[in-house]
Symmetry: C2
Subunit: 242 residues, 2 copies
DNA sequence: TCAAGTATACTTGTATACAAGTATTATAAA
DNA sequence: TTTATAATACTTGTATACAAGTATACTTGA
């Protein structure tokens, strides 16, 4: 048995989370990072032993991951589905879909407070880059989009966001970590893109928003390659758990 | 304590469901039907006693309902949010959104099998009406849309469906039950509308689909009024659980 | 009557126990 | 060697036990 003292998921983001949430966050990262391979079978008992907790929070975690389509709950054990390139594309389909919807609503309301809020987040992102803090950058990046989505006060759009957020966050986190050192310039492009997004919301120009969203997506396409590479790196020297 | 021998949710739909799923289904119906009022506080222990099960499946059920935004999990007790008219509108926003997306994908693929499948479901719906079986009709109605959505094989669109389906199913169920007796003619309109939808998929004509979707939504607007009326009827003579 | 403080009866989160069912493995027979 | 059967070691689902924390209500003092 291997004692794990290091976590992929930033523990400080889990200040008041339950054990189940913590386990879910960590397993999610391990699955998306490829440390736990697809088709692997997870047993509640083994996981409980591994994380040094009881089966209750493990069950909770598995339910969460199943809802996120990262695993499949079967009779005997939970089968890891993992995150394919197709999944990433699909997540961005959904983001494109809901953010477009949100934008149409934003056009009809006063967005000055939102723009202020977004500007603040953007500045935080700049600081994060300055100090090469990939985690903080990812946090703010996700928060940026969450802030936009929450602005229209739509329970079910927010529900969709809540369901896709964890996977997206984990994915962005891994992607940014692998890029912060080598591909430093990428981040300026991301910043510019977010500035464009704010501008679109401020001026309520649909074309700008579409442009920004698509650029963001194109940017992600690159992230995918990077992540797959980083997965291989991460997987090296890690014993298989079968 | 009141012993409940009758359930709002059709038990035969839960053939291989866990106790937690059963409890969730029943609580969902009671909340949407208004038997459990908004702002009511649900305690795990009380629910466990009421349903004659342990806290484990109750916890599972509450997690499910929280994900559906029907309740809010707080420190002390789960607070019932309930389903407002705004929620119904929002659910249909989402349906409009994802079914439009799905249609764009359907245009690009061979839909002959899908059309056959949908025709079969439509015939089932007709039989259900013939025998005034509101439950069966609702089941097929929901299945109709689920079949369309599943046809494009998109994990994350399906995820959105999975998350909104239970609430929508419960809502449609209650609505149809209240209408099957008095507003019999409504059902023919619904059938025609579904025929239009099939035609849209067959001919891949966008306008037809939009028309059908909007008619469906207008139809739902009427459902809302009916449901609120049926809620008051249902609520009569039911003691409050505070 | 009112205020403060303490005791009590709740709440959830986690751990453990038990039961029912399934896959695997070993054993025995042909 | 192969097949059938039985035993065993797993699996999850549910029930129960325990611990930590919170709100409420009561008691005690003025």
């Amino acid at each position: 048995m291997t004692e794990k003292n290091e976590f992929l998921y930033p523990q400080k983001w889990l200040s008041k989370a339950s054990t189940g949430d913590r386990v879910a966050s960590e397993l999610r990262m391990q699955i998306i990072a490829g440390l736990i391979e697809s088709d692997a079978i997870l047993s509640e008992n083994k996981l409980a032993a591994e994380f040094n907790v009881s089966r209750s929070p493990i069950r909770e975690a598995l339910k969460i991951l199943a809802a996120e389509n990262l695993i499949r709950l079967e009779r005997m054990g939970a089968v890891v589905i993992g995150l394919t390139e197709k999944d990433i594309e699909e997540i961005y389909d959904v983001r494109l879909l809901i953010e477009s919807f949100v934008f149409e609503r934003l056009i009809k309301i006063d967005t000055s407070n939102l723009v202020t809020e977004l500007s603040k987040i953007l500045e935080m992102m700049k600081i994060a880059i300055k100090y090469k803090d990939a985690d903080e950058f990812s946090l703010q990046d996700v928060l940026f989009h969450e802030t936009i989505i929450r602005a229209i006060n739509h329970s079910y759009i927010r529900m969709i966001w809540d369901n896709t957020k964890p996977v997206m966050e984990a994915f962005i986190l891994l992607s940014m970590r692998s890029r912060i050192e080598e591909k430093y310039d990428d981040f300026n492009r991301i910043l510019e893109n977010h500035e464009l997004y704010i501008e679109a919301i401020k001026t309520k120009k649909r074309e700008l928003m579409i442009k920004s969203l698509h650029q963001n997506f194109d940017d992600v396409q690159g992230k995918v390659d990077d992540l797959w590479i980083s997965q291989q790196t991460l997987s090296k020297g890690v014993e298989k758990s079968d």
